[in-house]
Amino acid sequence: MIPEIFQTVPIEHFVYLSAVLFVIGVVGVLTRSNAIVIFMSVELMLNSVNLLLVSFSSYHQDPAGQIFVFFIMAVAAAEVAVGLAIITMIYRNTHSVDINDMSRMKN
């Protein structure tokens, strides 16, 4: 049975909500210079895509979309573990997590 929310709220509004969340994540990646905040913006973008997958999954009554969400969560958890280890290592060596300090390969 299709959830009753779709009788009053069209699917487009869910799509617009996740588009707005994705764009906020993109702007966060572009504007901030703290590596951890950039990482959190990437998590926000992943979650907006999850929202889109779940809303289409329950609109079309197909469980495959929600299975994809589980795999995205698994990949995100692995990514966070490795990424935070890298950031911790950078902090240990340079005492900073600012991405402007990480552009030393240019010189």
Binding site: M1, I2, E4, I5, T8, V9, I11, V15, Y16, L17, A19, V20, L21, V23, I24, G25, V27, G28, L30, R32, S33, I36, V37, M40, S41, E43, L44, N47, L51, V54, S57, S58, H60, Q61, D62, P63, A64, Q66, I67, V69, F70, F71, M73, A74, A77, A78, E79, V80, A81, V82, L84, A85, I86, T88, M89, R92, N93, T94, V97, D98
Partner: protein, 178 residues
């Protein structure tokens, strides 16, 4: 009732997401991100009838991943180090490019026909229930499920190898290796 609840939750989600990007203190960013995830989970559970995904979202994202972020932030004690300022021109151009991306996305989606094209087979079972999801996960998607476990093993080994102190260093904890 459900309609106004959806728009309220959507507004609150966007507000918290903007606060994640806008707040100066990274700890506040983490806490706002946890609130954003709670709002998205509320969407899953109450609006979209995807109870299990909502619960897993709270446990994995708001519970595990965000605690990891908070732990790393508190270990680093970043409050003593001020974030380097980006120039105003850079921030304005980033906001403009983000806004242009939003315009392009919305314009492309306005043309798309998202309505159901075919007849949805009506079942009594709820799609978001553990029974349906577990059956699909362990039959059709069994192979990706097993590969995900290998991914976790590799990620665990990678995190341990990266986080390990260098063998030659004599410093303790997060002191710089000279």
């Amino acid at each position: 009732m459900l309609t106004s609840a959806f728009y309220f939750i959507a507004f609150v989600t966007i507000f918290f997401a903007i606060m994640v990007v806008a707040s100066k203190n990274p700890i506040h960013s983490v806490l706002y991100l946890v609130l954003t995830f709670f709002c998205i989970s509320a969407n899953y559970i109450f609006m979209l009838d995807a109870t299990f995904v909502g619960m897993v979202n709270i446990i994995v994202y708001a519970g595990a991943i965000m605690v990891l972020f908070l732990y790393v932030l508190m270990m680093m004690n970043l409050n003593s180090i001020a974030e380097q300022k980006r120039s105003v021109l850079f921030k304005v151009s980033a906001a403009i490019s983000g806004g242009m991306l939003l315009v392009v996305l919305v314009a492309a989606l306005k043309e798309a026909n998202l309505q159901i094209q075919h007849e949805v087979i009506a079942t009594d079972q709820r799609i978001g229930s553990i029974k349906v999801l577990g059956y699909v996960l362990y039959s059709k998607y069994q192979m990706p499920f097993e590969i995900a476990s290998i991914l976790f093993l590799i990620a665990m080994i990678g995190a341990v190898v990266l986080g390990k102190k260098d063998a030659g260093s004599k410093t303790i904890g997060l002191e710089p290796v000279q």
